[in-house]
Structure formats: C-alpha cells, structure tokens
Symmetry: C2
Subunit: 226 residues, 2 copies
C-alpha cells in the first residue's frame, strides 16, 4: 500500500524492458514457419525492436537461449497430457505429442533436438515416460534403457523431420531426383530399387514416423514376453 508497492500489477508494467519471457515469446513467433536462420540474434533483435546484442544481457549465449526455448516447447507439448490405462497408449501419446510440439517450431527442433534442457518440461516428460514403463512391468534398469531408446528415437527423428521442413522445396527436389535418377539405371543391375522407387518416394515423413513408432512399440511389447 505504500509508494513502492502502489504500482498496480497490470501486465503492461515495464513493457519496454526486454526480460527473458518477452524474448522467448518473440523467438517462438519467429520460429513458427520454415525459414532457415529465423533465430539469428539480428532477426530476434529486429522483432523486439532492440539491438541484437541486448540479448546478451539476459542470456549468456545462444546456447542458453536455445535450451530455454526447447524446454518451453516441451512444456507446451505436455499440456493436457493424461496417462492412459494402457502403458503402450501412454508411450505412443508422449512420443507423438512432444514431436508435434517441436515441429511447430522447426528451428528450435533442429537446434535443440540433441540437447538436454534439464528443466521443468523435460522433467515432466521423463517422469511420464518412466511411469508408463513402470506400469508395463519393466525393472528400473530396463526402464532406463527403454526410455533412452524411445526418447532418442523421438528426438533424433524429430530433428530429422524439422530439418526436412527447413530444407523446404530442396527436399521435394531430392525426392523427384530420387525417382528420375533410378529411372535411368539399368533395371538388370538393381531390379528391386528401380521397381520400388516410386512407392518408396511416395511415403510421407509423418506416416513413416508413425509406422516406425509402431514397429518400435511392437518390439518393446515383444521384449516383455521374454
């Protein structure tokens, strides 16, 4: 009630100050979409209406900014998650929702897929995964191994997919070149490759991930029956 605390707690106080939260918001805005280098300091600065180097006042370097962004993206992906009665359903849900959250911000996904944030969102995800694996009946040791396999499977493939999104039309050119180059190959030398190239090139990344995920989950289930 005195002069110091009389400033009302309306959200717009210190609106022109930078602050970590405002910076992270601006970064997520920029990271929607598939522009490579969308997250350069110069572009973030422009988005914020501030000098690029002002960011160093709030984050030690690009790395720290990136990890904070990544954890935010994981947290957003965990919103609304509820464990299913079936452990396999929970695993599937987790490995789809974090992936799709990352793919909304491809630039964050490519840069942070191989990093450990060590922060809240990641903790939620890890706890949920381990909980599902415990429910499945895995021992603590086995659960740790299966978690790493699943987690890195998801992160590796998500980084891969995000890279494809950022490649954009270059990736489509690759697929076209795949078909046309195999068409010029002697069918006698590579009969299976030449016959199947169209079918293989037609597979879209998202269905491919889901198919591989089912294979992986199938392998995990098979492992439970000794």
């Amino acid at each position: 009630m005195d002069q110091k605390e009389s400033v009302p707690t309306v959200p717009r106080r210190r609106a022109q100050g930078l602050g970590r939260e405002r910076i992270l918001e601006a970064c997520l805005n920029l990271a929607t979409g598939t522009t490579p280098d969308a997250l350069s300091f110069r572009k973030i600065g422009k988005e914020l209406g501030a000098d690029p180097t002002a960011l160093y006042r709030h984050f030690a370097d690009k790395d720290e900014l990136l990890l904070a962004l990544a954890d935010k993206v994981i947290s957003m992906g965990m919103i609304g998650y509820v464990p299913a009665p079936d452990w396999e359903e929970s695993l599937r849900d987790l490995m789809l929702r974090i992936r799709s959250s990352f793919l909304q911000y491809p630039q964050v996904a490519t840069l942070a897929a191989l990093r450990v944030t060590g922060q809240g969102g990641e903790l939620q995800f890890v706890e949920a995964m381990l909980s599902a694996l415990a429910l499945a009946g895995f021992s603590r040791h086995e659960a740790a191994l299966v978690f790493r396999a699943c987690g890195d499977f998801m992160l590796a493939w998500t980084g891969f997919s995000a890279g494809l999104l950022l490649l954009g039309q270059k990736s489509e050119q690759d697929d076209a070149a795949w078909v046309s180059s195999y068409d010029q190959v002697a069918e006698h030398d590579f009969p299976l490759a030449v016959t199947s190239v169209r079918e293989m090139a037609a597979v879209q990344d998202e269905e491919n991930y889901q198919f591989a995920l089912e294979l992986l989950l199938g392998g995990i289930a098979a492992r439970l029956q000794h």
Copy 2:
C-alpha cells in the same frame, strides 16, 4: 605415339589441376575428426592449396559437393557387404555398417543425413535392403514401407549421433547438467526421474542405437507373424 599422345599415362599427370576426385579426397580428410565447420570452402581451399572459390569450377554449389561426398561415404560403407542367409542379420548388418561409415565423417553425416544422393552407393544400399526384406517374405508394398522406416531410422539417428560428436564436450556437459539439475529437484514431485537419472545418463549413444535397432527389428519380426 605422336606428339599429342606421347605423354605417359602415369598417375601424376595434371597433378596440380583440381578435379572432382581430388576435391572429394581432400574433403574426406578434413571431415575425419569432430571439428564443426571443417568443411567450409575456405578450409577446403586451404587444404588443396587453391583459392576457395576455385571449387565452383567443379561443383555447382556446396549442395552438389555434399551429395557427392555422402554417396562416396555410403559406397565405402558397402565395401565387403555380403548378404547373410538370415534376412534379419542382413538388415542389422546394413543398418550398422552405413551408420558407422557416416560416423567416420561426422561433418558429412550431419549435413547429408536428410538428403537423397540418387547415386551409386545409395543404390547398392537400397537394393541390398529391399533384397533382405523380400527374403523375409514382405510384399513389394510392405517392403517399401519397412525400408523407409528402417532407412530413415538409421539416417535420422546417425545424423543425431554425428551432431553429438560435433558438439563434443558440450554434449558431455549436458549429461553432467542432466544429473546435477535433477538432483536439485524435489524427489516427491518426480520420483522416477530423480531416481533413474544417473542410470539414464550413463547410457552411451552407440549401445543405445544398437538397443533401439534390436527393438525395431523385433517389431518387424513380430509384424511378419500377422
């Protein structure tokens, strides 16, 4: 025998000319090791004793150079491959040998894991994979789906692993930070994560890939039994 053709065909003719082969060799030399940006045009030029921009005389751009490099690496990985009597053994072999060939040149792996070379090495790999899947009894359509799942699993994870190699000690710092940050978390809130973090962090990437690969192969085998 006349003056034009009298130059002996010893290997050292046009030794100072650049040529695609010499450039590719120099690139592979530079790409051994885990230096990020080892394959910049300026560094390649230095390695060759030529101006960086001279490369544009032999490759349209960095992309074309990269695809040629990637295909060379795949070809090297296929050397000595012989199909096993067991289809599962062949798949495993292929998905380990191409990975390990790429990981000898991490810089090539990160840059080219999500590209299609459309060239000879890739053709050999694709044909060998499809051949193993046909032996397993998969239909043409199913084989195409399983190939894409296996191929992209291998490429995605290999790109992931190469990225870890290039991160170097930063990646080790991440693992250390993983353990220490979870140690500061209330065990009541995240009991499983806090209990298992050491065990999870201890898993090495190579064993992790091999474990996940076995799960995937298990899932494929399970799928064959309807």
